[in-house]
């Protein structure tokens, strides 16, 4: 694939540098926390969201090439190969698992500093998300403020399943800080594993875990809209990352349908939930849960009733597509251009024109 191929200039809104070890992050901590990692023997802190040997966790060719291990290998596998203008690094080190908010904040600071030093400094096309220690709203706001001057960070990152529904007013200081600094709010598949992954309890298998992520996204979408986050913070954009996308139209249909009968509960919604979603919600396009038929995909695009909601993403190195088929089949050239370039630029004000 030449640099003049169909993805030239695209903005990849979801890539994953390999998750660093606690020892690597300890190098970015102050004396107390560096000692803590050593004294307590925090040798591994791996999320079960992406088990190392699960097929999803890394595409075979990228796994073989160790392509997520360092910036040079990553850029060779994706940015150089396809001519992407930018790629947005979402760190999946499990900051969200800690019960101790002080430890979480120390790891979040280290993780964000590690990303800046070992990835963003190495290639000017890379951009980053500020991982928040969501265990504490106050410390999350501190971390946003601390990273706001570095324009390479364009998003703050949360997980689809956490302590409380993300629309709750306890979280609003985070949205106020994000809006104030032009950060987009990203919600990535994943869980703090502090609550069961389904509302009926814990499933048994990884397959159920990954499939249940779509339910987590649905709950967050409903919470953000119904609690009035977008009324309070009208400039805010929220990107649902690695959500699967196609659950959205039926979910919005249900939400908007029942809103008509119980609107009195949430009178601050001056338009339907689906209209709020079209105005404020964006979704990365990998994975895209649908049959590979252009006709089916055309119907799904019609149901979205918007050509501005989808953002290009490879989800590198996760194995979501074969060969170079990074987009669903049958999208028009105009829509493809929007998904690859225009929509990401609109969704991320801090990205600026490349």
């Amino acid at each position: 694939m030449s640099a003049n191929g169909p993805y030239q200039g695209a903005i990849d809104c979801d890539i994953h540098p390999r998750v660093p070890t606690p020892q690597t992050l300890a190098r970015y901590m102050d004396d107390h926390w560096r000692d803590t990692v050593e004294v307590r023997g925090i040798e591994a802190w791996d999320s079960i969201s992406y088990p190392p040997n699960a097929p999803l966790t890394s595409r075979p060719d990228w796994r073989k090439a160790d392509a997520d291990a360092e910036p040079a290998k990553l850029t060779e596998a994706t940015l150089d190969r396809f001519g992407f203008a930018h790629a947005l690094c979402n760190s999946l080190f499990a900051v969200q698992f800690f019960r101790d908010e002080n430890l979480a904040a120390a790891f979040a600071r280290a993780l964000n500093d590690w990303l800046a030093a070992e990835w963003l400094d190495k290639d000017p096309r890379l951009r980053g998300s500020v991982v928040l220690p969501i265990q504490s709203v106050e410390r999350s706001v501190d971390e946003i403020e601390r990273r706001a001057a570095d324009r390479r960070f364009v998003q703050v990152l949360l997980l689809a399943m956490g302590e409380q529904p993300l629309g709750k007013s306890m979280y609003w200081p985070i949205y106020a800080a994000a809006e104030r600094h032009g950060f987009t709010v990203g919600i990535h598949a994943g869980s703090s594993y502090h609550h069961a992954l389904t509302s009926s309890g814990w499933p048994s298998y990884y397959l159920e875990d990954y499939a249940a992520q779509a339910l987590g996204f649905q709950a967050q979408l409903a919470s953000l809209i119904c609690e009035g986050v977008f009324v309070k913070y009208p400039k805010l954009k929220v990107v649902l990352i690695e959500s699967g996308v196609t659950w959205l139209p039926p979910s919005l249909w249900r939400l908007s349908k029942f809103w008509r009968g119980v609107r009195l509960e949430v009178p601050w919604l001056d338009r339907s939930p689906e209209q709020f979603a079209r105005d404020h919600i964006r979704l990365t396009i990998q994975p895209f849960d649908a049959p590979p038929s252009p006709a089916q995909i055309g119907r799904i695009m019609d149901q979205l009733q918007s050509d501005e909601m989808l953002l290009f993403a490879t989800d590198f190195p996760h194995w979501q597509f074969a060969d170079d088929a990074m987009l669903p089949a049958g999208l028009s050239p105009a829509l493809t251009r929007k998904i690859l370039i225009d929509n990401p630029l609109a969704a991320y004000p801090r990205l600026g024109r490349p």
Partner: protein
Amino acid sequence: MPRHVVAKAAEIPPGSRKLVQVAGRDIVIFNISGELFALSDKCPHKGGSLSRGKLSGAVTASQPGQYHYSRPGEIIRCPWHAWEFDVRTGRSWCDPQRMRLMNYAVSVEPGAKLVEGPFTAETFAVSVEDAYVVIETK
């Protein structure tokens, strides 16, 4: 424009409502503080009878968590799925452009005038002493 005498004015005092049949249509008449409004009784969603719905106020908010209650008794809620309609306009709250009730011109006329015609009193006799509710069908 056919005009129909549908009730004695005294039958629909302020705060009350009455379902009437006019030219094969079900029409509900509301009296809000002395003002009459006549609307199609059939909810455009699934056909619930609005004459059996609850009247409430208009609830709005400029910020999350605020509830501003105004226009008491001017919003009718369908008894089936609780969709709200503005009694003054017939428009639904959630989809006012596309989802609305047909509304009809309604007035109170003295019996003496009605006796002269050309009104249709389908169900009862008109006397010159009383006042009557008159609906105009399109």
